[in-house]
């Protein structure tokens, strides 16, 4: 069994070697101008376009991949920055929770963006490009089959030309042989010679027919497909860039909103700090008694409060109050705080308008 297998492979190998030798021979003859080459300028243009198209597609794919890598890097850098801010943030600062939520949303947005482009644009491009190697192989095959066809053609033509010559060639020696041959062999030799030449002639004709058929099959296929493929490239480019632009637009719009939110938080934080700072500054510069009053706390009224006494603070829901310590700790009643409305502070820049208010009408800010 093994021998048969070996025999078969050896046979196949031999055929391939023969094929290559024949093709190489034909090509050499063509190069030397000793044999003509079938040329199809139109087809060559198609192939040129094909190669151009493949080149364009490959470049696009490469660029898309590079873009995606940059997107990932950008995402990482953005997150690292956000982490810096988050680590710096103290719990009593304005907007800690909003900040954390914002960081999450931003992260998700980046991931979605990267994913969309990978799924749509890059994958489509990969799929589009995957058809090229096959067609390229078939173009090469067509080339080889064309060489085979040419070679068969030349062989046949030379046989045709040489047939008459051969016949003349054999005639004399054959005639001599005939004369020398016994009577029963008369005519057989020449008949045999004729048969031989006829055989190789027919063989060549058959080979030519086969080579032509194989070539034309491939050729027709490709002549159909290549122009269609070339035309399709516009659609591919449109799809790619339209999809990309669409995703980018969406991503940028959403990110713009998130950036606005971050800006708002930062602005409010700045305001909060300004108040503290100006207040601190005032306290630092004021005399010892007032220094003792300072408490570094802010509360917000969650309910209106109507002052029932001269030393009480009137509150409207939403008012921010800066809390102070009592002059005399004994004076402080349970559940009551001393404070100054932020708005009064902004207006007067002194703490004359301070008053007491019920703690449970407010909430820590």
């Amino acid at each position: 069994m093994a021998e048969i297998g070996k025999g078969v492979t050896a046979g196949k190998l031999a055929i391939n070697v023969q094929k290559r030798l024949t093709r190489a021979q034909e090509k050499v003859l063509q190069k030397l101008g000793k044999a003509d080459e079938t040329r199809d300028v139109v087809f060559e243009e198609m192939v040129a376009n094909f190669n151009k198209q493949m080149g364009e597609g490959t470049k696009l794919q490469k660029d898309l991949k590079a873009y995606l890598a940059a997107v990932k890097t950008m995402h990482d850098a953005s997150r690292r920055l956000q982490d810096c801010l988050a680590d710096m943030y103290e719990p009593d600062w304005f907007g800690k929770e909003e900040m954390d939520a914002l960081a999450e949303d931003t992260d998700t947005m980046w991931l979605d963006y990267h994913q969309s482009i990978t799924d749509k644009s890059l994958q489509d491009m990969d799929m589009y490009l995957s058809q090229f190697p096959d067609i390229k192989a078939r173009i090469a095959k067509r080339d080889r089959k064309l060489v085979d066809f040419d070679s068969a053609r030349h062989h046949f033509t030379s046989l045709q030309k040489g047939k008459k010559k051969d016949e003349a060639k054999i005639a004399k020696p054959a005639a001599l042989l005939e004369m020398a041959a016994p009577s029963w062999a008369q005519g057989l030799i020449s008949a045999h010679q004729v048969a031989q030449t006829n055989l190789s002639y027919n063989q060549a004709e058959e080979d030519l027919g086969r080579a032509q058929k194989i070539f034309e099959e491939l050729n027709v296929e490709l002549q159909d497909e290549l122009p269609a493929l070339w035309d399709r490239r516009v659609g591919v480019y449109v799809n790619t860039f339209q999809s990309l632009a669409g995703h980018q637009e969406k991503f940028h719009k959403e990110m713009s909103k998130l950036s606005e939110n971050l800006n708002d938080i930062m602005t409010k934080l700045e305001e909060q700090r300004q108040i503290k700072f100006s207040f601190t500054d005032f306290i630092c510069k004021s005399d010892v008694n007032e220094k003792r009053l300072f408490c570094f706390l802010q509360v917000k009224a969650v309910h209106d409060y109507a002052a029932t006494d001269g030393d009480e603070l009137e509150l409207k829901m939403g008012d921010v109050v800066l809390v102070l310590a009592f002059d005399n700790p004994d004076e402080q009643d349970d559940g009551w705080l001393m404070g100054l409305k932020e708005s009064h502070w902004f207006q007067k820049k002194d703490i004359s308008a301070k008053g007491v208010f019920p703690e449970n009408f407010t909430q820590r800010v």
């Binding site: 101008g33 003509d36 080459e37 079938t38 040329r39 199809d40 139109v42 087809f43 364009e56 470049k59 696009l60 660029d63 898309l64 590079a66 873009y67 940059a70 997107v71 890097t73 950008m74 850098a77 920055l81 810096c84 801010l85 680590d87 710096m88 799929m127 589009y128 058809q131 064309l146 053609r153 034309e216 050729n219 027709v220 002549q223 159909d224 497909e225 122009p227 269609a228 035309d231 399709r232 516009v234 659609g235 591919v236 480019y237 449109v238 799809n239 339209q242 990309l244 632009a245 980018q248 637009e249 940028h252 719009k253 713009s256 950036s259 606005e260 971050l262 800006n263 700045e270 700090r273």
Partner: protein, 276 residues
């Protein structure tokens, strides 16, 4: 001998008295010095806290600076790859396709927008952090100097204490030691007071720096993203126009679509008559 009105006993007594006064003065001074030493210890602990805050602030600042620089580099990377894509599109765009001029304008605008964004990031973020972090080495140097002056101050104090606590007092030496002590004290107090005022302010300033950086970045991003999304929409529209122009052709990408256009080149075999 008028000066010696005091009898020898009184004289002796005056001497002893003087000695006693001197002794108690010295002891009082000793106590003061010791108390001063203790106060300085406590104050130094407080300062130690300031110093630790300073170090943490510097580390945090360096980290933010590094991340800001990385962000800047990432933006440049996005710009470059985005530009390459646009360039490729321009290269494959044929001159008879719809929207050739529009595409050129969009590509140009995108490039300008990116450049602007990069420049502003460099100015408003990178430079800011550069300035912020550059102030730390000098301050740390002064903190170190204060440390050295404190050591001088301490040793001058101990020296004086030692001299005053000695059985046999050398007034000349004590006077000199006192002078050195006072000098060391002044030098130390000066740098100490400076730092005590500056360090808390510096520490507070970190909030301002961070807020500025993130306000700036959110502003820059906001503007950039808004404008960029507009350009994205324009490119989308150009692609739509191109699609319309070429709507005769098949668009299927998956698999091969054998579309033979009627009227175009049909199947041909090369002429059997070869030429050459």
């Amino acid at each position: 001998m008028a000066e010696n009105k005091m009898g020898p006993n009184l004289q002796a007594g005056a001497g002893i008295f003087a000695k006693r006064v001197q002794k108690s003065l010295n002891r009082a001074q000793e106590k003061v010095l010791q108390k001063l030493g203790k106060t300085m210890e406590t104050k130094d602990e407080q300062f130690e806290l300031c110093s630790q805050n300073l170090n943490k602030q510097q580390i945090d600042g360096s980290r933010l600076f590094k991340d800001v620089k990385a962000y800047y580099a990432a933006v440049k990377g996005m710009h470059e790859t985005s530009k390459r894509l646009s360039q490729t599109l321009s290269d494959i765009y044929e001159s008879d396709w719809d929207g050739v001029k529009d595409l050129a304008v969009i590509t140009e605008s995108e490039d300008l927008l990116w450049n602007d964004y990069e420049e502003k990031i460099n100015d408003q973020l990178v430079r800011t952090m550069e300035n912020y972090t550059s102030q730390f080495p000098e301050v740390k140097e002064r903190v170190a100097k204060r440390g050295r002056k404190l050591v001088d101050y301490d040793s001058a104090r101990h020296h004086l204490e030692a001299l005053q606590g000695a059985k046999k007092k050398d007034e000349a030496k004590i006077a000199k030691a006192e002078e050195e002590f006072n000098k060391a004290q002044n030098v130390f107090e000066e740098i100490n007071n400076e730092l005590r005022e500056e360090l808390p302010v510096l520490h507070q300033s970190r909030i301002g720096c961070y807020v500025t950086v993130f306000e700036n970045i959110s502003n820059l991003r906001d503007v950039f993203y808004k404008e960029m999304s507009g350009l994205n929409r324009e490119l989308y529209n150009v692609m739509k126009k191109l699609e319309t122009q070429h709507s005769g052709k098949a668009f299927i990408i998956k698999g091969l679509n054998r579309c033979v256009d009627p009227g175009s080149k049909t199947c041909r075999t090369p002429a059997l008559e070869a030429w050459g």
